[in-house]
């Protein structure tokens, strides 16, 4: 093994002549966090809506929700990324498509939309499961008290379901952070792409990838610790999670 280790590489100047390689990594981390946080907000909003849709009475609305979930779960994320980036602008009217392609941060916006929809399907599954896991009496009791259906969802079912599904939501949040790395294929300079660019310019492969790995692990641990706190705060009294 004659690999030339050089851990000082991160202090050296990157090819742009202004920033060090360490700055390259940090800016990658910032893009990763920005993309996954924005996507996560979108995924939560859409996921709760679609998840609730699947538990409504009647036939067509739940079917619509299930079709939505199947659509986004059965196509690989990479292909979805390409669809949003290369195909979607072509299907719009000419002017709108051109405007989209000329946007300064097109990869970022595309990645957020793509990850938002992709993750929302997964969140929706959890939300449906959460609502179905609640005692059936909750819905009936709320309706008997005179709440209409939207109020039942808004004040009773969804808040309870959120508290039940926090642990699986944590792992979906970790997933969206990891999945944001797929956006490097459409040119987003997130953390993995930054490590890759350091490798390309400096040939210090293993230092660059080790640093990126370490940062991912630290982000992971931080998220897990924060969510544990939140889970303990929000655990439903009387369940095994509460103490």
């Amino acid at each position: 093994m004659n690999y030339h280790w050089n851990w000082r590489i991160f202090g050296e100047m990157s090819p742009d002549g202004v920033h060090t390689y360490w700055d390259t990594l940090l800016s990658g981390l910032a893009w990763t966090l920005a993309t996954s946080l924005a996507g996560w907000v979108m995924a939560l909003a859409l996921g709760f809506a679609v998840g609730a849709l699947r538990t409504l009475p009647g036939r067509w609305l739940p079917l619509l929700g299930t079709a939505y979930v199947e659509l986004f779960r059965n196509v690989p994320l990479l292909v979805q990324m390409f669809l949003w980036f290369f195909v979607a602008p072509e299907l719009l009217p000419q002017a709108a498509g051109d405007w989209l392609k000329a946007m300064p941060n097109a990869p970022f916006a595309t990645a957020v939309i793509c990850l938002g929809f992709f993750t929302s399907a997964r969140v929706a599954v959890q939300v449906t499961a959460g609502i179905q896991a609640l005692a059936g009496g909750q819905r009936l009791a709320a309706l008997a008290l005179g709440l209409d259906l939207p109020q039942t969802y808004r004040f009773v079912l969804l808040p309870l379901a959120l508290r039940v599904i926090l642990p699986p939501l944590t792992s979906e949040f970790l997933n969206i952070i990891k999945n944001s790395s797929v956006a490097l294929t459409i040119g987003l300079m997130e953390l993995t792409a930054s490590a890759r660019s350091i490798q390309e310019f400096s040939f210090q492969v293993f230092e660059a990838f080790s640093a990126a790995t370490l940062i991912y692990v630290l982000v992971n641990l931080t998220v897990i610790a924060a969510m544990r706190l939140l889970e303990r705060r929000l655990a439903l009294p009387g369940t095994l999670g509460a103490r």
């Binding site: 292909v79 490798q199 492969v205 790995t213 991912y216 692990v217």
Partner: protein, 230 residues
């Protein structure tokens, strides 16, 4: 809406797409699944070992792999495997391994971490009485695991293992970053050659959608068939 599109490009290239691209994707999926399940089961046994250092190392490996994005792991092994191979056979220079082997090693090692957690769940769901009864009959550790615990764990976890394999089938598309002609890579080559990105990527999405729906329908049917009535 589709007036200025040329869907003829699919008619011209689908043989190449399936014979080269899909064949590569399926081969990688199946081999990585077999390797991943085998290695994952071993990892699960290690994680539950009473020998603490072994359990710790296995847990650290699983948690590390699960914390890192697959794309980064693909890059890691793409550069690491040549050095590892050189070290194994004692060569002075990094060995050229080829993208297929590099990808196969990556997906096997990566998926093993996920299969490990599934198998661990399956093993832990086996009633303790089963193990005690087997030990009382005089079976040793490997007999207890190989003949009593693992067959039941496999059966119970079969639908989940299949679901994870669907995830693997979708994840294989990420070898695109190594410019390998898997199904997506092959389609993207044709798309760029003919300037037909819209048609090709729509077609790719459609094929994946149909195949994955079919596989998850299979998983649901399997779930009904293997469920043990208690």
């Amino acid at each position: 809406m589709f007036t200025h599109f040329d869907f003829d490009v699919i008619g011209r290239s689908w043989v190449y797409l399936f014979q080269v691209g899909m064949a590569f994707t399926l081969e990688l999926t199946v081999l990585a699944m077999i390797g991943g399940v085998a290695l994952g089961t071993l990892l699960a046994l290690c994680r539950m070992s009473s020998f603490k250092p072994l359990a710790l190392v296995a847990a650290a490996y699983v948690n590390l792999i699960r914390a890192v994005p697959l794309v980064l792991v693909i890059f890691w092994f793409y550069f690491l495997v040549p050095y590892l191979a050189a070290w194994v056979i004692g060569a002075a220079e990094p060995v050229k391994v080829g993208t297929f082997w590099s990808a196969l090693i990556t997906f096997t090692l990566f998926q093993a971490a996920y299969y490990c957690e599934i198998m661990r769940g399956g093993i832990q769901a086996i009633p303790r009485g089963q193990v005690l009864a087997a030990q009382a009959l005089g079976l040793n550790y490997w007999q207890v695991m190989g003949r009593i615990v693992l067959p039941q764990a496999f059966r119970n976890m079969l639908p989940v293992l299949l679901t994870q394999t669907i995830v693997l089938f979708q994840d294989v598309s990420l070898v695109y970053v190594l410019s390998v002609p898997d199904f997506v890579g092959a389609a993207s080559k044709v798309a760029q050659r003919d300037g037909r990105l819209v048609e090709m990527y729509t077609f790719v999405a459609l094929v994946y959608f149909v195949l994955c729906c079919l596989l998850s329908w299979l998983a649901r049917r399997l779930q009904k068939r293997v469920a043990i009535v208690r």
